[in-house]
Symmetry: C2
Subunit: 292 residues, 2 copies
């Protein structure tokens, strides 16, 4: 079994519509479990419930609100069905852990709509094409860039994932960020596990914060993350572009577009992240050139 | 009192953390109350709770999942606090009505993070600039274009709102859509009520479906809608650009960017909408030219 599937194994919980697992420390960024893995776990728990309800197994949309950082340890997923329709179903899920005094603490809450990507993802009638960029072999391994992240603690996540970064978007590794608000790269699981719809929730949140490209290193906590899964990914490398154009009051959006190896757009996501501006940082160079 | 504020008046509900109102038929699109008004109502109920909790009165992020169409009539808003932090608070809200047999039916459920836009919206360090487009006086009133919408029933919403559409993006009114996936225009309340953060949830969902510009008329139900309110709007006209680049399997995204009269970006939203492709519709002309 792949490392990713192993991390998503759920046991029945103590109450109906509850699932539980022992989160290990293999998907950490600093002291916290990666938010993308938590969303994949949340979607897996919902898929389990929907399977029992008889259909709608693919996540079409998922919105997660992050309430507190999750660590390794016992984790409960509590699901709640809001509506089961003919074409789509909508559900809620909470991911919970216990604090040192045994009190239940919610790590994230998500709403999600599930459906069938065989009918809700095809045919493709209109789509953004992937950008031309260097091949994975011409890109830099994320592991090589990890030391520049400014995030304290180990980044065990990067041992599981083969991330390759477009050299033109990683000037921040050597202190020369492009300040374009863009990071591009390639994704695959190190152990060869092929992508599926649920794994796309991890992919869209696996890259370094786009703030790095603006010269702002360090922790960038996610307040809210919404992904729209737009298609079933084909096997092979996934191509990823992360961008941000608006930064005010310590908050910026981070948009991800992900294409599969056939060039088809498979997930589109946006998150709102908190960013602390370092002293002496200049906004001038980073002003967005884009107009709508 | 303005028409919009009048629509947002809430009374205490029968249980703690519940609020209620009598929705009238003045904010309809066809047979349903406009989703933007429902989100503004949901945010108002949450703001009421947070005011009681002592702070965080501005919506920073709100994600609404639409479960069934709301009509005029008795409406209950049930709120639930997830986390009260120093800088932001996160809450959940359900909007409920009763069916003809008296059973409670949920119309939408939303998660939202509130904060203080005086600190979370300023200073602006980086932003997308508004596009150059014809002034409101050079644009076409939405009322004049309403007949072409293909939505059955009255559109009472347009009596409350002064929407002006950029002539270059309303070829669909005369059967000649530009097929660019873009509608642009201006927004203000007809009665002169100035914009505030909660009203931006309505603004981002008040324009005709962007599918019209692809030559696909008719009803475009929202599955999921997330808005990030990025700043407090100045008085005056709001400038709005709606775009879509990805359409597959009967689903497309609809992105909105809204600027205030000083040219400052104040809300950024994305929704996933269901679209029915008419027979004989050709995708070729509508292929997106954009690359990331």
């Amino acid at each position: 079994m792949s490392e990713f599937d192993d991390a998503l194994v759920l046991e029945a919980g103590v109450a109906p519509k509850e699932h539980q697992t022992q989160l290990d420390d293999q998907w950490m960024i600093g002291d916290a479990v990666n938010g993308g893995l938590l969303m994949a776990l949340a979607a897996t728990a919902l898929g389990r419930e929907l399977d029992a309800d008889g259909g709608h197994l693919d996540p079409l949309a998922l919105s997660a609100y992050f309430l507190s950082p999750a660590g390794a340890g016992e984790t409960v997923l509590r699901t709640h069905t809001l509506r089961v329709g003919r074409q789509v179903s909508t559900d809620q899920v909470s991911l919970l852990q216990r604090d040192t005094e045994g009190r239940e603490v919610e790590r994230l809450r998500a709403l999600a709509t599930f459906g069938d990507l065989d009918t809700s993802g095809a045919p493709v009638l209109r789509a953004v094409a992937p950008p031309r960029m260097p091949s994975p072999d011409e890109c830099l391994s994320r592991g090589a860039a990890a030391g520049a992240s400014g995030v304290p603690g180990a980044i065990s996540l990067t041992d599981r994932l083969d991330l390759r970064l477009d050299p033109s978007t990683i000037g921040w590794v050597v202190g020369r960020p492009a300040k374009a608000g863009r990071i591009r790269g390639w994704f695959r699981f190190r152990d060869g596990r092929e992508p599926d719809p649920i794994s796309l929730l991890l992919v869209a949140d696996a890259f370094p914060p786009v703030a790095f490209d603006l010269g702002i290193m360090g922790w960038a906590p996610t307040l809210e993350f919404t992904a729209h899964v737009r298609g079933k990914p084909a096997p092979g490398w996934l191509q990823v572009v992360i961008t941000s154009a608006n930064f005010a009051g310590g908050l910026m959006e981070e948009d991800a577009l992900v294409w599969d190896s056939t060039g088809r757009l498979v997930v589109q996501s946006r998150q709102l992240v908190g960013v602390r501006v370092p002293k002496g940082w200049s906004a001038d160079e980073a002003q967005a050139a884009a107009t709508a």
